[in-house]
Symmetry: C3
Subunit: 363 residues, 3 copies
Amino acid sequence: MQYTIAEIASALGLEAVGDDTLMVTGVAEPSDARADQLAMAMKPEYAEGLSQGRARAAMLWGEADWQALGLEAAILAPRPRFALSALSGMMDPGQGYSAGIHPMSVVDPSAKLGENVAVGPFAVIGADVEIGDGSVIGPQVHVGWGTTIGAGALLHAGAKIGARCTIGDRFIAHFNAVVGNDGFSFVTPEASGVEKARESLGDQGEVKGQPWARIASLGGVTIGDDVEVGACAAIDRGTVRDTRIGDGTKIDNQVQVGHNTVVGRHTLLCGQVGIAGSATIGDFVVLAGQVGISDNICVGDNVICGGATVVLSSIPAGRVMLGYPATKMDQTLESYKALRRLPRLAREVAELRKSVSKDAPNG
Amino acid sequence: MQYTIAEIASALGLEAVGDDTLMVTGVAEPSDARADQLAMAMKPEYAEGLSQGRARAAMLWGEADWQALGLEAAILAPRPRFALSALSGMMDPGQGYSAGIHPMSVVDPSAKLGENVAVGPFAVIGADVEIGDGSVIGPQVHVGWGTTIGAGALLHAGAKIGARCTIGDRFIAHFNAVVGNDGFSFVTPEASGVEKARESLGDQGEVKGQPWARIASLGGVTIGDDVEVGACAAIDRGTVRDTRIGDGTKIDNQVQVGHNTVVGRHTLLCGQVGIAGSATIGDFVVLAGQVGISDNICVGDNVICGGATVVLSSIPAGRVMLGYPATKMDQTLESYKALRRLPRLAREVAELRKSVSKDAPNG
Amino acid sequence: MQYTIAEIASALGLEAVGDDTLMVTGVAEPSDARADQLAMAMKPEYAEGLSQGRARAAMLWGEADWQALGLEAAILAPRPRFALSALSGMMDPGQGYSAGIHPMSVVDPSAKLGENVAVGPFAVIGADVEIGDGSVIGPQVHVGWGTTIGAGALLHAGAKIGARCTIGDRFIAHFNAVVGNDGFSFVTPEASGVEKARESLGDQGEVKGQPWARIASLGGVTIGDDVEVGACAAIDRGTVRDTRIGDGTKIDNQVQVGHNTVVGRHTLLCGQVGIAGSATIGDFVVLAGQVGISDNICVGDNVICGGATVVLSSIPAGRVMLGYPATKMDQTLESYKALRRLPRLAREVAELRKSVSKDAPNG
């Protein structure tokens, strides 16, 4: 993999300056860069490292003075992280999974694989599966009975896709990701303490233990195009209809999406987010790491929840939330600031009470 | 898979009305239902969808007027979710794992498999393992040395069961579930900062870094009958004795149960619950999603903890808890309401102080 | 596996008392111990169980009166948990993975395996991989292209190590652990609502959904010596340079370490800890279960965070923290105590306001 500065700049739609015939074979941080690597010095503070490294060319911020930095060539990026997206895609050597169907895989004769589909060692492709052109099924992957996956998929080693799921194009499942496991759905013969405590907000009534009966998951999972599912994430299948994930939604490691939940388009679910069953998450939502969403609630479009926000009730579109329980971020920050001062406030009130009772006409 | 309405009603012990010879091949939401599917319209608000779908029969709530809904037949369920349990079990096509011992599996010659045990491709059954009749060991599963699993187990693709575990009947392990990994147990040569901070509630004394020595996990995991372990969940083995999970307990995705912990019977651990080492969790407990339980504490029978509750000290039986740190749910909700008003309260106190100091005799 | 009391005491550098030629084959809790097992009665309260069990020898606390306990021999341990470390290592029968290269594994011809490396069934070793002497690669493990692992590694069943990672000696990866999956890094063409909300602490400006462009992960993961990674944990690869984990650091189940993050030496990350991208965690840090660390912040050396602490800003070295958001543990405990009394405080302030307005000269 090697490119001239001109080739990269042209692929990224950005301006190259200096000797754009210079060849690079990869990218590096400024202070680590070899002479054949493009240094990533996308903010002025990172440019200081250039003198320690040996890069002859760098990707720089929009207004950078590349010559003053001692470079022979540069690419100027007004929004550098966005430029890094296309650049990193060009430079990614990937996991090196081999082409073709590995002889030590099991592909059911009824499965329909598109053109140039790779199936790695110890992978299992079930009956009636369909996989689109150019997809790469990594080692030790399982694709269950009757599942359809679109073109250009990349299923990393150990990913497990359950039966009767429907997945769009360019799907990525990271190591040991899970899609289409059974939902966690149990019911007691009579109303349980949980049902009563939820109604009363805290009182479970007469305490009476009952064993749990299992509700099987008859639905599957439907996933749109351009979706990623992170390492050790788990997307439950639905109970009657499918759990659904919209186009362009990205799901990070160890995220849980409960049964029947509907997640919209272009939404980010960051690491360890947990969404309980039958929730509805809108489009363009961002849930930061460890956010928790209760079952059966609705999170509107464009909502942003900060790290570890605990969402116990529905959120209107466009809100920015934080805290346990979730409130508007600015209010939450104000409340937490006040909470830190609360012990002092309590002392002040105690003094006031003393002083008022003393001052009172009948004190 | 097809059943008459009469067959289903009889299996569920419920009343069939209308033409109970009608045949259905599956279930669907009312608005999506085909003519050969049983619509799930178990609340009046779901019944509205019946006119959009083509179902001729439905499962309805107890007092539903099935004829007014234009149906030819119906099953009336006074507690519909409970009825769904048996119904969904009848209708579940499952993952379609094949029968028999797959030629590309590795079963140690010393392992004892019961009658009609299936072992999927790329599964590994270790030495001295015993597996009960009718169990299904899915693809890419690992069952370690000396482990015993009862009858009727279903281990989904990628599940890993460590050595020397003892598991009851009808065990279900979901995709990539883990049972019997080593506990997380480390110790420093001299008392660590953590030990001191726990005693003093906040002061770690003289700060002095020490490397950690590993404590191996000599115990296993003992699991009762009718237990499920979710996708990517992890149940640590014990240090000296076994970690224990009681009969009928259900464990959701990405749950962690620490070493030596004892979980009772018929307890629900919902998604992403984390239980640290040597905790004791009672019978009929429900821990909602993301609940955290500290090590060495005791959660009594019938306790319910709402979503993301952080339990730092023991909880008596029967309590309904919420919050960080856990307090009784009704108190927690009152405190959080007051917290939202706290910035205003602080302003009021400031005004009072001003006004009182003005009014005071010597003000 | 059997040892005399003298052999164990000598290996542990501790004092044996009584008949130190007595032979034991394992350890047990006092009340469960067979006659050939060493009872673990390392606190006075555990010694009560000795009379129920049949142990003839025990490991006891430093000043224990072993003869009064009816034992024939004992090992006296002034710091018993530390003694348990070496003892449990001697007594651990392990998972029983077989030696040699299993015929149903796939080892790329270019891979260099050291002496006595075991590769289990259905494991995959990619091109240009190097694995040090005596390492055990368990069943169904994947080691990606160009990765180097030191001597004495133990990779449990289902662990997945991505391409181009560099791992030191004595590495342990538990069941289904993941190292070297792609980072979760996405960017919008124009500034996103998240970027604006972070700057303004709550205002995302004009709401405008944009699809996310993927940033590939060109870096790997560099891991020092004596590191463990827990079941279903995930360590992201870096974007340009490697994500780094220092010597002696221990990572528990279901922990997430984000891309570019640097974790120091001898640090403990307990179960379900989540560390977002580009964070820096110092040496000798202890993050208890479910702790969350925001991206791009710095946690100093010797910091301790209690269970489920949510860290939204950097923490100086040596601090002991708790709460959401993280504050010093003693302050947090005081604030939470005050929070529980807050509804009462609010009522007191309301009464004061009434009484003051009545008492005021113009009241």
